[in-house]
Every structure is written in structure tokens, then in C-alpha cells.
């Protein structure tokens, strides 16, 4: 995962920010309880979003508890107590981290990735055994992605498809998918989150990928034939911006139709502001959005 899904902190109320952090800590603690201390290091914001988003949609009210974080031992903090959703998010975090390391090892023969795989091995096996169907599907999607990359797929839409489907799978938790209608809506939500993540990551890595001669869908879609990399990148920014914002606009439509039991404001902050801000940051040409909160606002 990429860690792109963040709230826009300045626009959150303090209590909302604390709630967001309570989810982060809750997932972190869930990883520790289920898989030990070292896998905690792999926790990403994207998975925190997953935990918060799913918890916002289930009937059951989450419980909170005070705790002391090992990184900040002087402060007492709130965290979300363990729940089925948090455990699920924790497990998915481990699963995706391990698969990510595996891909790195296979593609780049990175020694660090190999070491990471070794450390996460047992946790991964445990998760795989617990969710055989999910892990099979996720593996299948990653396989499709690897094939498209190998074939130098020249369509950003097509290249993003497997990852979008992967997120679709990930967000479909049985506690939330209570009927067909909600499942369809939730799948659509996941699809657009995944599509946005993949596309944004491709854009973010564009210059580096060209330098390293790694696959990048934008290179093939816009037919890069040598020459100035910066110039090439700026020539496709309009299209990329359109695609990213359009994907977010469709995500926002799903968001508006979902029935939130709680945390709607934080989820909205992430979808409307956090993800938009991240998009602008990666596009890197508008800085007005980066300016700090102004004095007396709402």
C-alpha cells in the first residue's frame, strides 16, 4: 500500500483528529496482538482508512480505551478497542505488506525485501490460512497486474483495473455487506479508491520509473520517446488531473449514498479534502491548496 489516504488535518476538529488517531493506534495494537511487534512497522494510513471506513458503516458501536503508546510513554491516549473490523484491517495490512515485499523481491531482487518477507513469513501464513478465499483473490489480482506490467500495457485505465478490483475485494467485509445493494455500492467505493491509488502512485513514480527504465503506464499511454522527462510529465498533467479528480468525484458519489452510522465527517474530510490535497501535491503545480488554515474559519 502507498499511504496516500490521509485526512486533511487542519480541517478536522480536534476530537475528530483524536478519533482518527484512535483508529490508527487501534489497528497498530491489533497487529501486535495478532502477529507480534515487528509487523506493526508495516502499518499504513490506507489500512487505517479501511478500518475507520468499515467501522463507520457497521451497526456495532466501537469501544474506546486509554493506553500508553510505547513510542510516547508519557502520554495517555485513546484507542479503539479490538473489534472484528480492526482485526480484519490488521490482517489485511500484513497480507498486503508481505505480497508487496514479494513483488519487490521478484522485480528488483531487493535484499531488504527478502529479509522483510522472512520476518513476516509466519504472520502471512497465518492470515492466508484464516482468509483462504480473500488471499487467493488478492493474489490473483496481483498476478494480473504483473502480467499487464510485463506486457507493457499502454492504457492507464487497463493497468489500474487489477488494483482497483483488489481494493474492491478488500473493502467487502461480510459485516458491512449485509445485502446486495450495499455490497454493490461498497464494491464501487473500493474500485474507485483502488483506481485512484494506483493512478496516483504511477504519476508519483513517473520520473523515477523513466530513469530506472521500470514499467509505468503513463510512459506507454503517452508514448514517451526519450527527451526531457519534466517536459513529458507536464504534457500529461492535464489528463492525469482529470482522471484522478474524476475518479474521486465518483468515489464521492458512492460516499454520499452510503449510510454512515458514525464518523461521516472524518470520512468526508478524507474523501473530499485529504485525497484531493494529496492529488494536488503529486500533480505539484497548485500550491494554493497547501496554504495553512486561515485565522477564523468555520
Amino acid at each position: 500500500m502507498f499511504g496516500y489516504i490521509l485526512p486533511d488535518k487542519p480541517e478536522l476538529k480536534i476530537k475528530e483528529y483524536e478519533l482518527y488517531r484512535a483508529y490508527y493506534c487501534g489497528v497498530c495494537r491489533a497487529i501486535k496482538r495478532r502477529h507480534g511487534n515487528i509487523p506493526r512497522l508495516t502499518l499504513t494510513y490506507d489500512i487505517t482508512f479501511l478500518a475507520l471506513f468499515l467501522s463507520a458503516l457497521v451497526e456495532k458501536q466501537p469501544d474506546y480505551q486509554d493506553f500508553r503508546c510505547i513510542l510516547h510513554p508519557m502520554k495517555r491516549r485513546k484507542m479503539v478497542s479490538s473489534s472484528e473490523i480492526l482485526d480484519y484491517a490488521a490482517d489485511m495490512n500484513v497480507l498486503l505488506s508481505w505480497l508487496n515485499l514479494r513483488d519487490k523481491w521478484q522485480d528488483e531482487k531487493s535484499k531488504a525485501a527478502r529479509a522483510g518477507m522472512f520476518v513476516l513469513r509466519r504472520a502471512y501464513e497465518r492470515v492466508k490460512a484464516e482468509y483462504p478465499e480473500k488471499s487467493r483473490m488478492i493474489n490473483e489480482k496481483l498476478g494480473e497486474l504483473a502480467r499487464l506490467e510485463k506486457d507493457k500495457c499502454a492504457s492507464i485505465d487497463q493497468a489500474a483495473e487489477p488494483f482497483a478490483r483488489l481494493m474492491e475485494e478488500l473493502i467487502c467485509h461480510p459485516l458491512v455487506c449485509t445485502d446486495k445493494k450495499i455490497e454493490a455500492l461498497l464494491r464501487r467505493t473500493g474500485y474507485h479508491v483502488g483506481k485512484w491509488l494506483y493512478t496516483l502512485d504511477a504519476l508519483d513514480d513517473l520520473e523515477e520509473d523513466i530513469k530506472n527504465k521500470s514499467y509505468n503506464p503513463f510512459v506507454y499511454e503517452y508514448n514517451y520517446q526519450g527527451g526531457d522527462i519534466k517536459e513529458f510529465r507536464s504534457s500529461l498533467l492535464d489528463d492525469a488531473e482529470f482522471l484522478l479528480i474524476h475518479t474521486l468525484s465518483e468515489l464521492a458519489r458512492c460516499f454520499e449514498l452510503l449510510e454512515f452510522k458514525r464518523h461521516k465527517n472524518i470520512a468526508g474530510n478524507i474523501i473530499y479534502l485529504g485525497m484531493q490535497k494529496k492529488t494536488e501535491a503529486v500533480l505539484g503545480r497548485r500550491n494554493c491548496i497547501e496554504r495553512p488554515v486561515q485565522g477564523i474559519g468555520n
Partner: protein, 200 residues
């Protein structure tokens, strides 16, 4: 009646691809967007009509040299009935069937591009959807349906950006902005020898 090959600026015996390529180039060239409120607007419209007519003749009748094979793979009575069927599949959510039908025909008309765009849009392939809508609009600039599909996509993006205001009024003027403006005005006035805010 003008020679369609001359209108499209291609040689007799040009292949189907060449005809399409020439057609698209010319449509872009004479597109009304390029001539809005322009003295040559009327002329461009006439040119475009000519190009459309020439393209239709070459693609439908196969042209004098048989550059167009004429086989479409489907035996629907007319083009309309064929596209109507595709639309029904799309509306029923049967995107695979609709896509299959479109891929089997050689008719690359504006409607073809529009319907293909519609399928992409349903699938969430927005980059492809947009470029197909754009081609449909370029080929038939006056068509309200194609234009509205393209505009709708842009409109949604704007809606998203506007709605984000509901989660934090970033773009609204607030007290700070007003103070900044007042102080700047005062500074400017003082530069010019006057004074806007007398106390500072």
C-alpha cells in the same frame, strides 16, 4: 458533387485507415470550437459538412476503388437498429455483449465512439471514456448527446471540487483576507502620497 477523395485530400485507392485518419484530421481542423465568433465560421461549417459527406460516401459505398471492404459481420437491417441494440445492452448493464458487438463492426462512426465511451465510463475507465467522447464530438460537433456526455464528465469534477468546500471553507474570503486587502490598499495609497487608513 465534389470528388470525395479530393475533399479528404487523399489518393484514390486509399485504405480504410487512411480515410479515417484523414477524416479525423480534417474534422479537427474545421471544428466549430476553433471558429467560434470567427469571421470564417460559416465557411468552416460548410467545409465540415463537405468532409462529413465525403467520409460517408467512402465508408458506406466502398468508394470507386473499393477501399472499403463493406463487411460488418452483423446483418442488422440498418446502422440505427444495430446501435439501438448496443444501447439496449449497455442499459441492461451487459457491457460485455455491447462491447463485443461494437468490436465486430467496421463502422467507426461518431456514434460508435460515443457508445464505446459509454461502455468505458460504466466500467470506470474514465481516461478512455473521455477520449472516445471527445472523438465522437470532433466527428459530429453538433450532436447534443455526445457533447453532453463530455460536458457531464467535466461537470462532475467541478461538483466534487465545490462540494469539498462543505468540509472546510478553504476558498472563501474570511476576516484575514479582508484585513490583508485593507492594509495593502493603505500601503498603496501611502505610496502615492495619500492615506486610506489614517491611524496607520
Amino acid at each position: 458533387m465534389k470528388d470525395p477523395y479530393k475533399v479528404l485530400e487523399i489518393n484514390r485507392g486509399a485504405s480504410k485507415e487512411e480515410i479515417q485518419k484523414a477524416y479525423r484530421r480534417l474534422v479537427k481542423k474545421y471544428h466549430p470550437d476553433q471558429y467560434q465568433n470567427h469571421p470564417l465560421q460559416k465557411l468552416a461549417e460548410e467545409k465540415l459538412a463537405e468532409v462529413n459527406k465525403a467520409y460517408d460516401i467512402l465508408m458506406k459505398n466502398g468508394g470507386a476503388s473499393g477501399g472499403y471492404s463493406g463487411s460488418s459481420g452483423y446483418s442488422y437491417g440498418s446502422e440505427n437498429a444495430f446501435f439501438e441494440q448496443v444501447r439496449i445492452h449497455i442499459n441492461n448493464g451487459d457491457l460485455n455483449r455491447a462491447e463485443q458487438m461494437l468490436n465486430q463492426t467496421d463502422k467507426r462512426t461518431a456514434e460508435w465512439f460515443y457508445l464505446k465511451g459509454l461502455i468505458f465510463q460504466r466500467k470506470g475507465w474514465y481516461a478512455q471514456a473521455r477520449s472516445h467522447f471527445q472523438t465522437a464530438v470532433n466527428m459530429e460537433p453538433g450532436n447534443a448527446e455526445y457533447n453532453s456526455a463530455l460536458n457531464m464528465m467535466n461537470y462532475n469534477n467541478n461538483m466534487y471540487r465545490e462540494r469539498s468546500g462543505g468540509y472546510g471553507n478553504r476558498d472563501m474570503d474570511d476576516l484575514c483576507t479582508i484585513c490583508q486587502c485593507l492594509i495593502c490598499t493603505d500601503c498603496c495609497c501611502e505610496c502615492m502620497g495619500g492615506d486610506f487608513i489614517t491611524c496607520c
